[in-house]
């Protein structure tokens, strides 16, 4: 009996050590807000990129606000501080790189159940509004957020803790997001990525029904649902035609217009034709991000095609 107990204790010792380190580092600020500025910077560098939903949801629950942004990396480029500048709106950005519609739906459900929401800026595109883009990173993150045991025993907390420890011990910088290739190569990579998404495209009956329900829910709860079609560079827009998805692209707009207000920046215009506005065909520069924020938060239309659900 004693031998078994001792062996068991030795066996679980590495886990106990690991959990202790995780509790001390607390890479996602699960237990409390980080007061050490340097460590907080490391967490933003590492944890935010290791599991952005987990990081953002924990932060959001601690400091919720009534306007949220959902979507992928393009929406993630919209700086919340600029919303305050242009329209005094206090906004929380819950979008992440590679975020799918499924993710956004799950985040919406979680957030709207727990907090009082007034407005949602929801980034949408034909690449994400597809029946085959089903990756769901939001649900596991919500599960982890809701359970202490899962928080301490999951790969994200483990990886982030180890990386933060590494930066602390060896005093090195870790950049998890920098693409290790030239802009031209990365540009082409992103076009290829888009081709993969469009090549796999199917009309998302599932998303249509989910969004229809969400739209009705928003109407009942007096939540303003605003869809944004972020501007992608013309090279990328041409891919839609190349894959013969023009009709589906139109259908996306028709669907969205039936769910809420729509700001459509994604058509050939002065923003999208100029390559210098972009870091890669998906991602625009900060100047464009500011234009988008200004238009959608103040409704002063200059570049987008706007359709209101109440028209």
């Amino acid at each position: 009996m004693i031998k078994f107990a001792i062996k068991s204790l030795i066996f679980v010792l590495p886990f106990l050590i690991l959990i202790t380190i995780e509790v001390i580092i607390d890479p996602f600020n699960y237990f409390s807000e980080e007061k050490d500025k340097k460590l907080q910077e490391k967490k933003e560098d590492i944890s935010l990129k290791t599991n952005p939903y987990l990081y953002k949801l924990i932060k959001y629950d601690r400091d919720p606000c009534s306007i949220i942004i959902l979507g992928d990396s393009r929406m993630d480029l919209l700086l919340t501080s600029k919303f305050e500048t242009y329209s005094k709106e206090k906004v929380s950005n819950l979008s992440i790189g590679g975020g799918t519609v499924q993710d956004a739906i799950e985040i919406f459900r979680y957030v709207s159940e727990k907090h009082d929401i007034k407005k949602i800026y929801w980034g949408m595109s034909i690449e994400s509004y597809s029946g085959t883009r089903l990756r769901n990173r939001a649900t596991p993150s919500i599960e982890i957020k809701n359970s202490l045991l899962l928080y301490l025993l999951n790969r994200y907390t483990f990886s982030a803790t180890m990386l933060i420890c590494r930066t602390m011990i060896f005093n090195e910088q870790i950049d998890l997001s920098k693409p290790p290739v030239s802009k031209e190569v990365f540009w082409q990579d992103q076009l290829d990525l888009c081709s993969r998404y469009l090549g796999n495209y199917s009309y998302p009956e599932n998303y249509f029904h989910d969004l229809k329900k969400i739209s009705a829910d928003c109407l009942a709860k007096n939540i303003k649902l605003v869809f944004v079609l972020p501007p992608t560079q013309l090279d990328l827009q041409k891919k839609i035609h190349e894959f013969k998805l023009d009709e589906e692209d139109k259908r996306l707009r028709v669907d969205l217009e039936s769910f809420g207000d729509v700001y459509d920046f994604n058509y050939p215009n002065t923003i999208t034709t100029d390559k210098s506005n972009y870091n890669d065909p998906f991602h625009f520069k900060e100047s464009i991000s500011n234009i988008i924020i200004q238009e959608i938060s103040t409704n002063q239309i200059k570049y987008s095609k706007f359709t209101s659900i109440t028209k």
């Binding site: 990756r135 359970s147 999951n154 483990f158």
Partner: protein, 478 residues
Amino acid sequence: MGFNSLNFLLFFPLLAVVYYITPAKFRWLTLLVASYFFYINIKPVFALLVAGVTLSTFIFTRLIDNANTESGKRTYMVINILLILLPLFFFKYFTSINNGIFALLESHNIRWPLPEIKLLLPVGISFYTFMAIGYTVDVCNESIKSEKNIGILALFLSFFPLILSGPIERAKNMLPQFKTSLKLDFTIVKQGMKMMLWGYFMKLVVADRIGIYVDAVYGNISQHNGTSLIVASFLYSIQLYADFGGYSLIAIGTAKILGINVMQNFKRPFFSISMSEFWRRWHISLISWLTDYVYTPLSFSFRRFKIWGIVLAIMITFFLSGIWHGATLTFIVWGLIQGLFLSIEALTNKKRTLFESKYSLNRRIWFIVLSCSFTFLLFSASLVFSRAKDLSDALLIYSKIFSSMLQMPYRDGYTMLYSFIGFGILFLKEFMDEYYPDKFLLFENKNIIIRWLTYYFVIFLILYLGVFGQEKFIYFQF
């Protein structure tokens, strides 16, 4: 509270401690209370059904034991079987029958007067009902004495590791174990823990990861091409095995830690070289139950038809197996397909055996590989019926498979990569266990470093590659 819920991970160690500190003669009582607590946690009202089935089985098996005539015994047996089948039929089949009749009458412009009743299927009802029937028949056949302690019988039918999805155990194996005073044996406890660990690996790393791909394709059949459907159908077979096999291992391991030995439910089915061998390795507890209580009596009654009697018995047995899985046409078709495969094997058995032994095929690697692959193919193809929503969906899948086969399949990079890693490890372990059972031992290695490194590695894989948050096992629906 499923096996992969955090509640269970807190409940079980606590129970194990309470169980072993309880005096040996009252341990069955601890298990009974824990089992009902476990089941009530799912939905309290369902516990009443188990209690009802237990009470009926107890009364009638006692009457069977005390009956003086053979016909009296048979009458009590039939009454009890009918009584305990009632809830199963009501909850599992009523809605389907009602819907079927409703649709049929409506097609003839006749309105069905009864409103639609949507019933939630009590988890595990098919499993404990079969256990109760098996026990009743055994008592009637005098292969076991009826249990005098209703508490022990109640524990047999509600034993928490088995109640949700089996294995469908026999009273002959379980009742004596509940009554013996067991000593705490750490070797057995460790064995149970290893089984549970591997079961969790199968469920969380392999089944639930593959499930993401399968759900994506099967959830949107009309939008996917034939290649995606083929890939998803093959993957579904693996998912089902990892899910149910993993569940069974956790169940058996849980029971083992409590000192109770439960029968094996899977024995590396994908290394079978024929469908009949496959069914000796897949869901062993159900198949042996069906063999003992359905197939054997039927083939005995049909013996005058010789080989065709066997075929008839096989077809009826697998027809019942299909119905047991679900009251839809898809499951019936699935069951009949299995029956057909086995019937063909039974009819060609002599010639095949002669041919195989003439050329020593069973010793040739290429023949074994081909046979295993063919068996896997047959099983995966038949599973389309059990996975599809309805018969028209299943037929749509087949038509798409044959019309748009050579296209790029749907790709989901990370899911496929992680699935491949998980399945690769599972396959490797099963391969070693099948062909080199005493070589390259990892869990059972005598060297503690290798053993512990293996445990850590599996735990690491579960934490790192596991899919959390899906508490359901596929077989809960049956």
